[in-house]
């Protein structure tokens, strides 16, 4: 029941954004500042989700070189900067994380 609400609500939230301009087909123009603001949205929101996950994986802030979530994230950032390929970044980041957690027992 709750999942029905969740999925229905997410459908409305997703589809309305995708459809509204198609429905009106060019009769509306955004002010340029709003267009610019929208460009910030994806990375800003994604990092707001990632930052707590990797800096407080056990519920409390853990800023330490011994935190494998943070260390593996750093590896992923470097990989993404060097290779510019999403799949490589994911695989290398996961391998680094697995190595630290299960190889080194961090």
């Amino acid at each position: 029941m709750n999942e029905g609400f969740l999925i229905g609500g997410m459908f409305v939230a997703t589809f309305s954004v995708r459809y509204i301009l198609f429905a009106m087909a060019g009769r509306v123009r955004f002010p340029s500042w709003l267009n610019k603001a929208l460009e910030f949205v994806p990375p800003v929101v994604l990092m707001a989700i990632v930052a707590p996950n990797i800096s407080m994986p056990k519920g409390e802030l853990w800023l330490s070189p011994l935190n494998p979530w943070l260390l593996a994230s750093l590896v992923a950032v470097i990989t993404a900067l060097v290779r510019k390929d999403l799949l490589t970044t994911i695989v290398v980041g996961m391998l680094a994380f697995a190595g630290m957690r299960f190889g080194l027992g961090m």
Binding site: L6, R18, P42, T89, M94
Partner: protein, 252 residues
């Protein structure tokens, strides 16, 4: 491949089926990139509190990769449903930019085509279709290209969700393998290409640090607050940066 496309454009207008197949094949490399997300989404669904049926239905009905991941993350963290829906809305707001870009290409189409195309508007299909529009101005059957790209993405996404659910059931201890980190590392990989200007970098840093500081706010409100603050700071920096050359010109 490019030879045959070029010659068919010269000789006759491509048929609907040809456009459809071109759309699907132009999207193929993007499927390979999207598949892991679908699989990871499927494996993460049940450990994060979404039923198998809910996961499949979400992929069929919502069809928005990043939002589905975020919904799982928020479900696991105990966020309320309205917060998850509001977050979905914000995360998907970038699609406004895509649709704004495509408006001129759909104006001549009946509403039912626009509904289908809007539902299928993903980052990948936008990228593939945008290339098609850049290559040729002929719009009369371009929506069949779009449909081919959309259905390739859509079927791939649903299939991968199912594969992920199955893998998660075969290996129930998968949730201890650090797949939760897969979500973080996926998002990191998605964010890095955006970090090309100082306003964007500062916006992301502001958002990330505020999200950590405000993590204990109820209903994950910290996430929205942090995002909004990051966007405001980034936009302000961008406007200050863009203003400088203008004022210099005026002095000259």
């Amino acid at each position: 491949m490019s030879d045959s496309t070029a010659s068919s454009q010269l000789l006759v207008e491509p048929t609907r089926a040809r456009e459809f197949l071109n759309g699907a094949s132009a999207t193929f490399p993007l499927l390979v990139g999207a598949a892991p997300f679908g699989i990871i989404f499927g494996t993460l669904a049940e450990p994060n509190g979404l039923s198998a049926l809910g996961a499949i239905l979400m992929s069929v009905i919502v069809f928005a990769g990043a939002s589905q991941f975020i919904a799982l993350g928020l479900l696991a963290a105990g966020a309320s449903i309205p917060i998850i829906i509001a977050t979905t809305f914000i995360v998907n707001f970038r699609h406004i930019l895509y649709s704004a870009n495509l408006v001129a290409k759909v104006k001549h189409l009946p509403q039912y085509w626009r509904v289908i195309m809007a539902f299928g508007l993903t980052d990948e299909t936008f990228a593939a279709v945008n290339n098609r529009y850049l290559q040729t101005d002929n719009l009369s059957r371009a929506h069949w290209f779009y449909l081919g790209s959309f259905l390739a993405m859509y079927s791939n996404w649903i299939l991968c969700t199912y594969i992920g659910l199955t893998l998660g059931n075969i290996f129930p201890q998968m949730q201890n393998w650090g797949l939760d980190f897969a979500m973080s590392v996926t998002f990191i990989g998605m964010v890095i290409p955006y970090l090309k200007s100082r306003p964007m970098i500062v916006a992301v840093l502001v958002s990330a640090s505020l999200a950590v500081v405000s993590y204990d706010l109820p209903h994950k409100l910290g996430l929205l607050m942090a995002s909004f603050s990051g966007i405001c700071v980034g936009l302000s920096l961008l406007m200050l940066k863009n203003r400088q050359p203008v004022s210099k010109e005026r002095k000259q």
